[in-house]
Symmetry: C2
Subunit: 344 residues, 2 copies
């Protein structure tokens, strides 16, 4: 049981009394091999518990069955749901997924791309809002461009601006607008928005989609009505507290993310404000758990797993003509118990 090096193809070949080449061919099923030789090789391999060295295979020309996925935080239900879709498609195609969590550190994101590049991953998926930072964009492009030039596939979910690569894009703006419309229809006229950092494209799109629709109906959303906070459950929680200190008195709160809405709901409950009695609350994404909240959350349902699946598929299929493809997936407003007409 002492640590000894791995079993190599050569040992298998020797033990089966055939050449390296033949052993390789048997194990890869490339060419026909006389059946008795084939049997000898197969049984030798299983006896020695042989596993090919994927590195050697990759080096020798075989293509690499791994793809890289970079997201902000696996434990965020939004990414978790997308990752689930990614995993399924990857699994179905016999691909191994290298998943990296950046914990929202732009620097790390680039570093991971570099590592994935070194691994010669056949594709890289970037999931979640990018950073709107000139410097960062350049550094990212400096990694991605050579990667793609070398034949690597890149696909992104939910970040449009920076990179011209295959993209799966949820219709944030339209979804938010539809939500605004539904909320107006319920009778609300005074809103507050719990937003994440404005520099994130996702936040921006949802926010402007929402406020533009409001404006179109003659309802103004001022800076005072917008509370900026971290893009997390705790951010939503804090945002409500902040909102309550302001003079604005909304009848309806829109959290740009379900995860933030979850924190918001708890903060409201703790503040003794009943939902939807005294205040309506809506989110965005339709993360699985929000239907189990009390009250269940009104939100814009995004096909999260599908986002992941489609992105993976884009990456696997590879780009044809050169133009990058953009796949837009629309969300759907789902009215649940957390919204109701405002109190008179």
């Amino acid at each position: 049981m002492n640590a000894r090096p791995h079993v190599t193809l050569e040992e298998v070949a020797r033990s089966a009394r055939v050449s390296l080449a033949t052993a390789s061919r048997v194990l890869n099923g490339t060419t026909n091999v006389r059946s008795d030789l084939r049997d000898r090789v197969v049984s030798a391999a299983s006896e020695l518990a042989y596993t090919p060295n994927a590195h050697a295979q990759a080096l020798a020309g075989g293509s690499q069955p791994t793809v890289g996925v970079i997201c902000h935080d696996v434990s965020d239900p939004y990414f978790a749901a997308i990752a689930r879709g990614v995993m399924r498609v990857a699994g179905d195609n016999g691909l191994l997924v290298m998943l990296a969590s950046t914990f929202r550190d732009p620097h790390k994101e680039i570093e991971y791309v570099s590592m994935l590049r070194a691994q010669r991953a056949s594709a890289i998926l970037l999931i979640g809002s990018g950073f709107e930072d000139r410097h960062w964009e350049q550094a990212m492009a400096a990694e991605l461009d050579p990667y793609r030039r070398g034949g690597g596939q890149v696909a992104v979910v939910s970040r449009h601006r920076s990179l011209k690569v295959d993209t799966v894009q949820p219709e944030n703006r339209e979804g938010a607008a539809a939500l605004a419309k539904a909320l107006l229809k319920l009778g609300h006229r005074r809103f507050a928005v719990l937003a994440g950092p404005r520099s994130m494209t996702t936040v921006n799109d949802r926010l402007s989609g929402f406020s533009d629709e409001l404006a179109a109906k003659g309802v103004e959303l001022t800076e005072d009505d917008i509370v900026e906070a971290a893009f997390t459950r705790d951010g939503g929680y804090a945002a409500v507290q902040e909102m309550l200190t302001r003079k604005t008195k909304p009848t309806c709160v829109f959290a740009v993310t379900d995860v933030m809405a979850i924190g918001a709901l708890t903060a409201l409950r703790e503040a003794g404000i009943s939902v939807p009695g005294e205040m309506s609350l809506a989110g965005f994404d339709d993360v699985p758990v929000v239907r189990d909240l009390t009250p269940p959350l009104t939100t814009v349902a995004l096909p999260l797993e599908e986002l992941g699946e489609r992105a993976m598929e884009l990456a696997i299929k590879g780009a044809r003509g050169g133009r990058s493809r953009i796949l837009r997936l629309s969300g759907e407003v789902v009215l649940r118990g957390s919204t109701a007409p405002p109190k008179k």
Copy 2:
């Protein structure tokens, strides 16, 4: 921009007019190199956007900076939380994580280990209950043994029986017992348990810890009080529906998993049974979201992220003496709003 092969070290060396060896040494900082040569190499590398081929490096003897993690489903908040801990430690140590989701398919689990073995991952982490199946155990051992013999590290979270490897084990039995004690103290005497498949060690431990403690206090738990269902949110939901058709009339329900408890809570609400007014409900794990439910869920809090961190640390540090190490982490009962004394 046509697809051309990757830039190699040789090109860098040529462009810097030094030998391959020197270029390699500069880029790895192994030996001192005259500073003018070093500069030439560095700038050549960056100009060509050179990235070392990790496969070649691995083949040539450098060790591989990747670890493999296998879990049932990334989108389950339980795994997501653990994965978060894993990711953090991995990131801090410059490791790339290959994450695989088996979707609870035993066959796939073994297949993934095999792929990870081929990748020469320096460590493999198995997260979540194993399968109690003689056949499966053998097949798994057949993969793992050669892997470890070849110097691979293996660590598991939360599965004791099958494999004698480094283990991080939450104290399921003790936690469940402590929960039982707390629930008894509230005055409950008639319980129901929503369990997952009995073949999972986790289910077994929690169930028996709970019922043994009950028995010790003279409260019997019969088979009729135990509802078996899938280990998911929907399983919990279905289990409550099933429970309500039975003649037993518990005052308190214990779901062996928070995720199941979430489904259970919704099912109870839809059945018009108030929690904790008419029925108390408790879970296990303390997944982040349960504190945001209404009412917040009473549960046994496990240090989920820490489970992941510790497992990763075990794997990184590697086994010394040969004996496998077992790290036990205890849970703590957290009483929240979902439990109350039973109605008289």
